[in-house]
Amino acid sequence: MAVVLILVLLALGSVVFHILSPWWWTPIASNWSYIDTTLIITFWITGTVFVAVVCFMAYCVYRFRHKPGNRAAYEPENRRLEWLLAAGTAVGVAAMLAPGLVVWHQFVTVPDDATPVEVVSQQWLWSFRLPGADGTLGHAETRKVSAENPLGLNTDDARGLDDVIIEGGELHVPVGKPVHMLLRSVDVLHDFYVPEFRAKMDMIPGMVTYFWFTPTRTGTFEILCAELCGIGHSQMRGTVVVDEAADYQAWLEQQSTFTQLVASGEPQTTD
């Protein structure tokens, strides 16, 4: 009987743990509340199935445990029941998949008015680049990376000369404006991850990857690296600040453009 009791307690205990758990997602700071909604739907469906299966099993053990003289029934199959269960499962799966795919469509469709923001990762540092007055990022590639040009901008591309470069500092973004995050790495895989934004994406040397989001509240958030990148992985942190428009402008004006950095001849260290 201990088995029955423990199985039931385990199913109910899991539900109680879920309700009382102090460990829950961080308060959201982006437009991806749809992701949270899909996650909640999934919790409801899977939680129901889990409790149902475990309790049914516990009931079977209680009701059909061996007693002297007992004999099992002989029933090789039951087509009707099997197909019913399969169909029910298919409905449950569709109920999770359909909203998931709708939200994924939004996730991969970058709005036209999204501002490009480039993140460049290296072991173990975050750098950023914003388009200058022309609103466009200049061409850049790993081959051009040097101590003087840590992000590898192509000096022949005029569009890049006014780009704003933030090496190892804080990134600021204005609240309420969609941002198109363009992700590059100059050495190994990294992953740009801010738990409050819900979105994350790997950064791959030789490619530009992307995602987009709209920050929905101001605040200071921690950037973590979410793809193993060597022994400094857990120390690879950065900061992103979501500002009101005015604060953002004030911050932006203090940043240096690529041309200014090159002209100042300030030696760029890459640690």
Partner: protein, 592 residues
């Protein structure tokens, strides 16, 4: 369902192939060491896999100690931490689970369950084990080379795996890891071809495919999958070795390594991920399908009832095996591949939940109106269902592409895969060992020690991995040497980490009870007799226990019925062995 008319079975002629003298071993060495007997090879595989698995267990303790008490143990620095997680993962997935299910259970059970004298290529079978042993030795040697083993994570993603920021990247570690995998795959291929051909060609008379026990179906399908999936890993390993040693650029784009421009250019790190997961996802089912098969037989035998929906169970195994080859990129939703692939892979991944769910329903429906004996194998089977259902359901979070985005690369993933492909298959392995140990040794394992082992393992692993999901939901990333000061992580999360570590130490200690039981019962266990569980399948009908070389004595068995004639109405006993002619009590098996 048809009733096979009484009398028709007598038309099956006796086996014609007699036992031959020439193939019996002539010396101690060829009987116990360089043996060609699948049963000896099985035990060799199992002991080697369990031994290396103990190394992985100790590694898991060390990494848990670091997570609970960061910085307290000075010898666990970041290098070592990443080496521990890498080796723990690789050992558990490849060198323990794959080797134990296919090399261990496959070798022991396939010939006995299908009524063959041995594997069809005994010599290649022997080589398979020795090559596996060499692979394990190369793996272990990696711990002792300069720089230590690789710390690239078990996924070995380039470019990081071969660069200097990763332990073993510019040293010998990664070379030993890749070499060991290559050798493992060579050895596995020899064994795997054997298992497949034996199932297809070596079955006893009357043993149709749709009369085979689900254990054989599970191992057979998993082996076919492994033969198709491992080559992808093989080429990926060879290509990475070339990149590292010969300067090719399969996986290497232009890279700045610690301020230095490298000569590589044009390669694709994502190509490696595709190759790796084209192997890696089927690998999940290479571990899971044998567990599915074995647990079906455990439940049926110990509930004294035929497995519910046998044909559906067989087809579910086959369909899961096939589908698992078109879901691999669900490991790569946030890898930076073209995000439109997400639609396809999320759909295929969630579809695979349907045949998997059918298996779960049929297991619990087998219990319904059964005669449930709460033996240790049955307890482990019940624990498996709980753990597997839990881990399988969280797979629906991670498989659904957009829900995966916040959870990917967090502790949620760690909790999920440990539940579904770590703990769940291992619970089946334990159940299977308690079930078949009497056949292998002739003695029963001690019941009291078994119960201690069972309860601590089942409840302990649940206490480790269930709460861990919530750390991931909170946003705690995986593969972090230390969390440090992170604003969104409350102090209570740290207490939870300590709790998980203490549980892990307990669960690990309980495995020592199990090992003690294995050794102690070898000489002190209760004598089992030939068929202690009163089971129907052929391995319990051998003339000797443990079975002698050649398994069946003079005549091969003849099979008259399916593997699940339990509690047949009208039969005097609640089981009818597969060798029982149908003229006395007709089988009521379903015919495909």
């Amino acid at each position: 369902m048809v009733e096979i008319p009484a009398g028709s079975a007598s038309a099956i002629p006796a086996a014609e192939v007699a036992d031959m003298e020439l193939y019996h071993p002539k010396s101690w060495w060829t009987k116990y060491v360089f043996s060609q007997d699948a049963k000896v090879i099985a035990v060799q595989y199992a002991l080697t896999a369990i031994s290396i698995g103990l190394v992985a267990l100790v590694l898991s303790w060390l990494m848990r100690l670091q997570l609970a008490f960061p910085g307290y143990f000075a010898f666990i620095d970041a290098d070592r931490y990443y080496q521990f997680i890498t080796m723990h993962g690789m050992i558990m997935v490849i060198y323990l689970l794959t080797a134990l299910f296919l090399g261990g259970f496959g070798n022991y059970l396939i010939p006995l369950m299908v009524g063959a004298r041995d594997m069809v290529f005994p010599y290649a079978n022997m080589l398979s084990y020795w090559i596996y042993l060499i692979a394990v030795l190369i793996l272990v040697a990696g711990f002792f080379v300069p720089g230590g083993p690789t710390g690239a994570g078990w996924t070995l993603y380039p470019p990081q795996a071969v660069l200097s920021g990763t332990p073993g990247g510019r040293d010998m570690g990664i070379l030993f890891m890749l070499s060991s995998l290559i050798v493992f795959i060579i050895g596995f291929t020899m064994g795997g071809l054997n298992y497949v051909v034996t199932v297809l060609q070596g079955r006893a008379r009357g043993m149709t495919l749709m009369r085979m026990p689900l254990t054989v179906w599970g191992i057979f399908t998993a082996t076919v999958m492994a033969l198709l999936a491992f080559p992808a890993l093989f080429v990926a390993c060879v290509m990475m070795l070339f990149d590292r040693l010969l300067g090719t650029s399969f996986f290497m784009p232009a890279i700045v390594e610690m301020g230095e421009q490298l000569q590589h250019g044009g390669g694709s790190p994502i190509l490696f991920q595709h190759l790796f997961w084209f192997f890696g996802h089927p690998e999940v089912y290479i571990v899971a399908l044998p567990a599915f098969g074995i647990v079906s037989d455990l439940i049926s035998t110990h509930a004294r009832k035929n497995i519910f929906g046998y044909r559906m169970m067989v087809w579910a195994i086959v369909i899961i095996g096939a589908l698992s080859f078109i879901v691999w990129a669900h490991h790569m939703y946030v890898s930076g591949m073209n995000p439109n692939f997400g639609f396809f892979f999320a759909t295929t991944t969630l579809i695979i939940a349907i045949p998997t769910a059918i298996k779960v329903y049929n297991w619990v429906l087998t219990l319904w109106r059964g005669d449930i004996h709460l033996t240790l194998p049955m307890l482990f089977a019940l624990a498996f269902i709980v753990t597997f259902v839990n881990g399988g359901l969280t797979g629906l979070f991670l498989g659904n592409v957009v829900v995966d985005v916040p959870l990917s690369d967090t502790m949620f993933v760690v909790a999920h895969f440990h539940m579904v492909m770590g703990v769940a298959p291992i619970l089946v392995i334990f159940g299977a060992i308690y079930h078949w140990y009497p056949k292998v040794t002739g003695r029963m394992l001690n019941d009291t020690l078994g119960h201690v082992h069972f309860w601590i393992t089942f409840l302990g692993t649940y206490a480790i991995f269930f709460p861990m999901h919530y750390l991931g939901l909170l946003g705690v990333p995986r593969r972090y040497y230390e969390l440090g000061e992170t604003a969104f992580v409350p102090p209570s999360a740290h207490s939870l980490n300590i709790f998980i570590t203490i549980m892990a130490l307990f669960v690990g200690a309980a495995q020592m009870v199990f090992l003690f039981n294995l050794v102690w019962s070898l000489s002190r266990g209760r004598l089992a007799g030939g068929n202690p569980w009163r089971a129907t399948t052929l391995e319990w009908q051998t003339p000797q226990t443990p079975p002698a070389h050649g398994n069946w004595g003079k005549d091969l068995p003849v099979v008259y019925r399916w593997a699940y004639d339990y509690s047949v109405p009208g039969a005097p006993e609640d089981f009818i062995p597969q060798t029982e002619p149908a003229r006395d009590i007709p089988t009521r098996e379903v015919v495909a």
